[in-house]
């Protein structure tokens, strides 16, 4: 159906020379492999100067047809339930060579930009223009909740860190026990050489203070406490 909102256009439409515009939706995989799946409410709106507006529903052959367009500059919008389509600028002008036929040209246009800012050219025709328009994206209506997912939960760095520390706390004694004696000795030596351990280590030095004995005990117990927290996880 064609909605004609203005009588001023009626005069223009009766002219035999008026222009026709046919816009088709091709199969455009992967977004829209089958344009026949578009909802029957899919329609195109052609907005001209104030009061001039044409509307065309989708046809069985996936096209929109606008017959008898008067000379003007139009904004073409395709509305569909499931897809977005880019807006087009359609100009119907007198032909340069002065013939009866009018020239129909189409470009992509950009919302929020001045009208003279034209995008890719969609074609031109004398008296009739057939062009194609492809959907730009699919409409996604639903917001998924960030639900509980055990894999995502384990993947988070905090949990990973906690798991590693838990593994160390529980696993270390077993590793120590299962090490062969030579390795164990070596390991003990290394620990002795460490700055905190051994009689010359910082920890031992701290322990030599009178009050420090108590303080160091607390210090190491906090270390243990941290371990406890790790275990609780």
């Amino acid at each position: 159906m064609l909605v004609l909102k203005s009588l001023t256009v009626l005069a223009g439409t009766s002219l035999a020379s008026a222009a026709n515009l046919t816009v088709s939706i091709p199969s455009s995989p992967p977004l829209l492999p089958n344009p026949a799946s578009l909802a029957p409410s899919t329609h195109a709106v052609l907005i001209g100067p104030p009061g001039v507006q044409y509307e065309a529903p989708i046809r069985r052959d996936n096209t929109f047809t606008f017959p008898d367009l008067a000379e003007a500059s139009y904004l073409l919008t395709v509305h569909s339930r499931d897809y977005f389509f880019p807006p087009l600028r359609v100009d119907v002008t007198k032909a340069a060579d002065g013939t009866q036929q009018e020239t129909v040209q189409a470009w992509q246009t950009f919302r929020g930009n001045e009208w003279s800012n034209k995008g890719p050219f969609y074609g031109s025709g004398n008296g009739e223009l057939r062009t194609q328009i492809q959907p730009s994206s699919q409409k996604n209506f639903y917001q998924d909740r960030g639900g509980f997912n055990i894999i995502d939960f384990v993947k988070s760095p905090m949990i990973l860190m906690a798991l590693v520390s838990v593994a160390f706390i529980f696993g270390m004694p077993y590793i120590m026990d299962n090490m062969d004696p030579e390795m164990k000795e070596e390991f003990d030596d290394m620990q002795k050489k460490g700055p905190l351990s051994g009689s010359s280590g910082a920890a031992a030095q701290l322990q030599n203070f009178d009050i420090a004995g108590w303080l160091a005990g607390k210090g190491s117990s906090t270390e243990q406490g941290a371990g406890d927290i790790g275990k609780k996880r």
Partner: protein, 930 residues
Amino acid sequence: MLLPLLTAVTLFLAPACAVFSDEAWNIDYHFALLGAPKEETSFFHRPNPSSKASLIYTLSEEHALGAVNPRDGSLVWRQILASGGDSHNTSFLRAGEGQDVVISGIGSEVAAWSAADGRLVWNVNADGPLEDVEILELSDGKETVGAKDAVALSGGEHPMVQRIDGASGAVKWQYSIDGSDAPYQLSASSTEVYAILLHKTILDYVKLRVVALDPVTGQKTDEYMLSSENELATADNVISVGANSASPIIAWTDAAHTTLKVNVVGTKSISSFSIERHDGNAIERVKLHAPYHINSLSHFLVHYETATSHWAEVYHIDLKNSKVEKAYSLPRVAGRGAFSTSTADANVYFTRVTRDELSTVSSASHGILGRWSLSSFGVASGVGEQVEPVHAVSEVSVKGDTVSAIRTTVLLSTGDWVLLRDGKGIWNRPEMLASTVAVTFAMPADVVALAQQLEVEAHGNPVAAYIHRVQRHVVDLQKLPSFLVSMPKKIVQGFLGTSADHAAGSDIFGFRQIIACATRSGRLVALDAGHPDRTLWNRDVADLKPGQSWRPSLSSTKDGVIQVSSAAGTGINYNATDGQQLAGDLPIIPDEPDLSTSRAVRYTMRGNSLEATYDWSPSWTFTPIHGERILNLVPRPVNDPVASIGKVLRDRRVLYKYLDSNIALLATAHDASSKANFYVLNTISGAIIYSNAHPNIDLTAPVPTIMSENWFAYSFTSEASDATTKGHQLVIGEVFESLIPDNRGAMGASSNYSTLQTATDPPFTLTQTYQIPEPISQLAVTRTRQGITSRQLLAVLPASNAIVGIPYGIVDPRRPVNRDPTKDEQAEGLMRYAPVLDFDPKWYLNHQREVVGIKNVVTAPALIESTSLVFAYGLDVFGTRLSPSFSFDILGRDFNKFQMLATVAALAVATFVVAPLVMRKQVDQRWRFL
């Protein structure tokens, strides 16, 4: 530290305005309606000739063309046909036998639609308004294989008959009708096309002129005038002109309905039958039901209706000598009845629907082939109201001498459209809601009952109040057994479900409000927002005569009460729960408050200016500039609670909102220069707080406006020049007392405030314009109980058939322009201004549904602060619940009780496992250091 936290919070809040996949289809409801179907444009038809499944097609009074699945009543497809705006309210819908298209005619347009998916096949514009459209059921070898051609009769200045190719929509031939006779109808037999014209005689009577055309060439083969004598006073007395049948007929009666005259088109003989009177009442209506198929028996049924009863007579046409004979009659039954015609091969069956019975007879004899008693149609109706069938369409399959299956769709006097399968109601579509003109929300009366009882106790003397209370508790105690029985179920439900789910059972959240809809036909229909799938009650309140219209306004002045007012009558109150009219039980609040005491300001539109009177004396007048007209005036809602008088900035300073309950947004249009002006007025003093003008506006497009709290919004379609942009724009303005934080502007110093005196310094307004992808036809705003929840702007998008909920933060006029937001602004959730605002599909309240023809959106607060109820009406009816600031006071669907319990259990287990380890470690430590 706080900044990232706040950013995180805003990020977290942003998607809260979206439709969640687990809430969609659950908390929202939608009736995809067509409007009341018309008898002559409703039928069963097989969209795919090779398959047996048929759909019900209808072109309704709302000009909606659609296909309904007879199995469940769901809508298969729908197209809204524009009638071209003329008052000529005739529409046609035809389907040829074995065709995969249906052909509609409305206004001056004939269009063919794919029957299976509702896509356009072709359309043709006739020069004048259409008077009739028929399908040529003949095979002359010239038509394209498969597609049957259509014939259209158009009126206007150049009346003509056109034959339209069924495959391409090309006009094959056209025949211009000469003379001044009004085209009336088309009729086609297997050999000829007849155009029936109404010829006015000198004495102002009507005579029927028949022009016979050759269907192949369109040449006139014959023309004659039927001698109807002086019986036909108006065209209304012509009952029917049969369309496609072996012998099309014209039937008419005289004005008093005493004789029935029948003429077989193509012959000049007229058969006359006297109409018997069966009861004292005059016959009000005579209808004719004839089969529509060219190869079916040429039998027809005449249906007589009086105010109290109806009956019918079946006639046979003898094809050889074109004689019409009465075959048998169907007995008189009280109440209204509906007849429908169905065919199977050549046989014709008539199905009769009365108040309490469904029966089928063959056209050949009066023996009843099938009879089913109808206890009720299963629809809600008014108390004591008799539900009666208005018209029916049937699909009958007959085996031997009995009806093996029958499906009948019946339009009832309540406005419901029901399907009966073998006499049992299968579905009903509340088509009366498609003509809803006014809506209000009301609390159910049972909720109010407790409040009333408590009120009695509060105001009575202590002893009486105590006795009353004990009595109330005793009454309550009677409910204890049933409560105890339902306890386990409730606990299980509470464990498995969420609190929002079983809220419908006991309405502690206020989701179960009653929505009262007044329809154009004068009925009041109540829906339950918690269980929208059933109509609570449906009663006739206006008692309108056909053709009469009313403009009701609904309000709920008091909880549990719905008040209906219209221009004709003052408020009548109805109980919201059961629809009973409340006579003197409740004090009716006077419709118009006494102005001398309430000191209200009244507004009247006088000519083209808005005049305000205060204390009966003119207060101020707003007259637009010469050549301008007032488009609309939107005041701030009466009940518009605001929780905070200022906007707290990140640095704890405050921007004070300009809050005045007496402000309104006025839009005017200057048609000559296509300019629109918008004014924010103080409605008491008449002062203009803000004004703005927009040139190059398409004034034929809708210009919706809204005003709430301290902000306003409007939208329009702008015309392009080379330097500007073409398209649709949305403007948001917010009014502040001062733009300097912690400063109250002119109000700061003064201790008194008068609404009558205009402040010397006007408040400050921030506005921002956004380019939107499609037009907005209507704006609304969510409402919550306290106004703490942020508001959401609801916009109806007619092009996408959607309602979009735009979060206020997205269109906040404080969004920084041409610079990135500072950290403080970021923390407030303000983004850099971008001129293009795309409607995220996640904001679509209707998500995948298509809500068509929405005229208005009403909102109401629920009992909990976070939630607002939304109800949209027009053609479709759509409702949902919105939580613009996330459901902060209710456990929503995202709250997983099982997960919570599992976490607690896991922690308990972990504690038991770890406790001995910790104990051992602590003991070890003691040994090590002490």
